[in-house]
């Protein structure tokens, strides 16, 4: 694909503003009606999907210069959360706002229009296989003392992939350790890659660095194939998105489960027994990459056709990623099954959940915007009366932890898996 291939999308934008809000049907209050953090924070219409379509069209038509600081900022000051995509698709079948912004990023990075802030992380990734600015050698430290197989030494059916955030962010290690331990204790033939695990590439993909993404994706696929892995489990929603939505485009055929899906399965099978009660009112935050972007990849190779004169279709039907089939129920089912937990919902949930602010390289390049986005979500969580915001993604957890600390809030930030382990 190239930006020119999105010309139809650019020209078909109806400038209706759907992309700025959550789906109109779902608006319950003014306070929590906005869907797009980028336009909410930056205000000029260029910072919305609608504006980016107009700018993309101007680029395609040569009306603006590719080498522009403002263009860079507009293109990269987007979380690629996909809320615009969902809101659009309540009515539209022929416009792809999320794919468009991703393509704009590829166009800019391809032309060398990269952010210096990003390049610090990209350079590190190239050297150390992670974007956490940590040495590769420390990758497996999170699992020290756990009696879990190392997949490169012993064959295993299930790989638990911790991901960069859980591997290097010590405050989050308990989540990864809990996940690996629960799986193992439930009798799952699980192993980890330890120090040989590498970045999934999802984040660099969203930042427009296609070459880096492909390198890491292809390496992971090759390694898993070599080791006979059947199932990949991860606690990171970004990684889940990479394995579930991106890797199949490169020929990967593994079963991909988020930890919380595996937990739901184990609970149903009676392999997880709950003990003590945890009396706590919690609210659940849907990570973008597990929720609306958590729909599985559907291969498609088709051609355009028309019926009834001018109704545009594809033959066979083109997969429609609306967020409808994201992973929403598994985490909620797990939470509801924990004795004592009371789950209360925020206004913006499931496919129209507000983003945590960590995605798309924004935390790296625009920390204030990233922090503001997280703080908005904490405000929403507080409005429910919950004492904890629970989620299923290390990147979300880190951004929320920082927002809570900055604001001096008392809100707890937890991972679903931690609550499960606490009650076992």
């Amino acid at each position: 694909m190239a930006l020119e291939d999105f010309r139809r999308d650019q020209e078909r934008c109806s400038e209706c503003n759907s992309c700025k809000w959550i789906p109109f049907d779902q608006i319950k209050s003014q306070r929590f009606a906005i869907g797009c953090p980028s336009i909410a924070y930056n205000n000029f219409t260029g910072y919305s999907a609608r504006g980016r379509f107009a700018i993309g069209l101007a680029l395609n038509e040569g009306r603006i210069d590719l080498y522009s600081d403002k263009l860079q900022e507009i293109v990269f000051k987007c979380l690629t959360c996909g809320n615009c995509d969902v809101a659009h698709k309540v009515c539209r079948y022929d416009v792809e706002p999320l794919d468009h912004i991703l393509e704009m990023r590829k166009t800019l990075t391809g032309a060398g229009q990269v952010l210096l802030e990003h390049m610090i992380y990209i350079d590190h990734l190239r050297k150390e296989d992670n974007m956490m600015l940590e040495p590769k050698a420390k990758r497996g430290d999170w699992a020290k003392g756990l009696d879990v197989k190392i997949a490169t030494d012993e064959p295993c059916e299930v790989i638990y992939h911790a991901g960069c955030r859980f591997s290097f962010d010590e405050e989050l290690w308990p989540s990864a350790r809990s996940a690996a331990t629960i799986l193992k204790n439930a009798g799952v033939d699980v192993g980890i890659m330890g120090k040989d695990e590498a970045c999934c590439g999802s984040r660099v993909h969203s930042m427009g660095f296609e070459g880096e993404y492909r390198k890491f994706a292809e390496n992971a696929i090759d390694a898993w194939k070599t080791q006979g892995v059947k199932t990949v489990v991860t606690s990171c929603s970004d990684c889940y998105y990479a394995f579930n939505r991106l890797y199949p485009r490169l020929g990967a055929h593994f079963e991909v489960l988020h930890t919380v899906q595996y937990l739901e399965r184990l609970i149903k099978e009676g392999k997880i027994k709950f003990g003590k009660s945890i009396p706590m009112k919690v609210t659940y935050h849907d990570p973008c990459h597990l929720g609306r972007q958590g729909e599985s990849y559907v291969p498609w190779d088709g051609v355009a056709k028309k019926i009834k004169g001018q109704i545009n279709l594809f033959n066979p039907p083109k997969p429609r990623y609306t967020g409808a089939r994201g992973v929403y129920d598994a985490p909620r089912n797990v939470l509801k099954s924990i004795p004592g937990i009371e789950l209360v919902e925020m206004e913006r949930i499931r496919e129209y959940a507000w983003c945590c602010g960590a995605g798309g390289g924004v935390r790296m390049a625009y920390p204030e915007f990233s922090g503001w986005t997280a703080a908005e979500r904490i405000e929403e969580a507080k409005s429910t009366g919950a004492e904890a915001i629970v989620t299923t993604c290390g990147h979300c957890e880190r951004n929320f932890l920082d927002a809570v600390e900055t604001a001096g809030e008392k809100m707890k930030v937890l991972d679903v898996v931690q609550l499960v382990e606490q009650t076992m």
Partner: protein, 549 residues
Amino acid sequence: MALTKKIYQLFEDIVGPENISNDPVVLASYQNPINRASNHMGPFYDVFTPQAVAVLLPACTEEVSNIIKVCNKYGLKLKAFSTGWSGMGYPCEDDTIQLDLRRMNKIIQIDDKNCFAVIEPYVIAAVLQAELMKYGLNTHNIGAGAQASPLASCAYLGPGPDSVFMGFSNENLLGGEWVLPNGEIVRFGTLGSGSGWHYGEGPGPSVRAVLKGLLGSMGAMGVITKVALKVYPWPGPAVLPVKGTIPAYYTELPDNFKYYTLGFPTWQAFADAQHKIWDAQIGYILHRQFNKMGCDLKAGVIRILTESDRHLNDLEELLEDPEVKRHTEEARHDFEIVLAGMTPRDIEWQEKALEEILAETGGWKVKAMQDPMRNAWGMLYLIRWGHKNLNYLYSGSYEGTAGMSGSPDFGIQHIDKVKAFKQEWDKKGMMVADGGDSSMGSVGVIGGGGGFGWEVHACFDSHSKESVEGTLEFFDAMAKFMKENRLGPEKSKHMEPMRQSDGRATPQEARNKMFGATPFPIVYKYQKKVKDAFDPYDLGDVFYKYSTD
């Protein structure tokens, strides 16, 4: 005058550096294909509005006033929009400042005792409705959809699906705050005499007619910064209980709400029922809506929209389904109605009245839309009005073409001719062959009833040169047909008196000719005097319409 550094600095001093930009990338995002609110002409014929010299995001009335004063001092034009949905909100001349009013987004007051809400420009209808429902109130939604600004349309006409119960936008305008084209701030209605927001005609200046002109000031007569709007009872839950999987959202409301699609054996029965409904004073929402998808296609499309896994590819197969065929035939002469009972007795009475009207006219409740899921979907659609974008569903572009506002008895005499005319053009394959009748509109275009606003849609593919050119030919032919039959304006050309084909202002002489050539001229020469009096520096543009001939 061009935007010099000195003038830029003056603007920056007013709104702050983060709320002004003349960066080419930002300005490009504010250029609009000239008719983008509806038809896109794609790579072949799309023309962009002239680029503004700067975009400003004011936060309050005083900032707007100061911006206007600077514009007038240095001979700059000004164009403001609330949400920017329509091409009319963008410049049509060089050296124009674009105001984007999105930072003015406060709901200032909801007075539930006196039934009004005070809002700023960027409060959209969906948001206002959600907040009002907490007080047992509701707001009028204009036809443009829940993403539109109720403030913006109060200086226009603003009919909508609920006009039978909640009137037009301009009818709901109470007190308000208006920055004149000379920068002076006028507080009108009761607000102008310090008596609050509750009445539009005073004591205090009464300016509603000036604001509206004959058919709206379209952003060319200063900037309205706050208005009080009359709001209406909402006898439902404080929060719309929305369920379902995208895009098939639906709502299940208490028994005092009923939604029906009503079908009739003939157009005459269709019109008679409308008169009887108005006479009986029943109905909360009254609109012909789903027919916009085309009389031959709507039954299939509704199934696609109400089942989340379905796709447009299913349409042809669905249209062969006997139940869908039955639905199609039952709904040839149809419109939608939502009843909302303020009490159990009220809904009981409204239901009985409706039954009687159906019996007298030979009408029926379209069975397929009584299906619980489709009914709950239709209820949400009509109440929240958040699906305007379905107009683009088929091929990415559409335009209203034949328009026949007036008594339903007028339109029913001609709709079959219009339908037959469009069907002939549909056969050429350049537009979506929807059955010819894709008319939709508000059943109650005068507050409380009395008229029906027919608007026939033509859907086409903006990325097919054949389709665009064929549709443009159709628009010309339809305009001729409408004129010959004295049926009212052909709607695709509604921007022409303001913008030429290059997106720039149409010269006055040409405008005079166009106005004079329409069956129902919608301008007065007197409006020029109003323009001269209120806009001495010519701040606004040609969208404030008048004739000099």
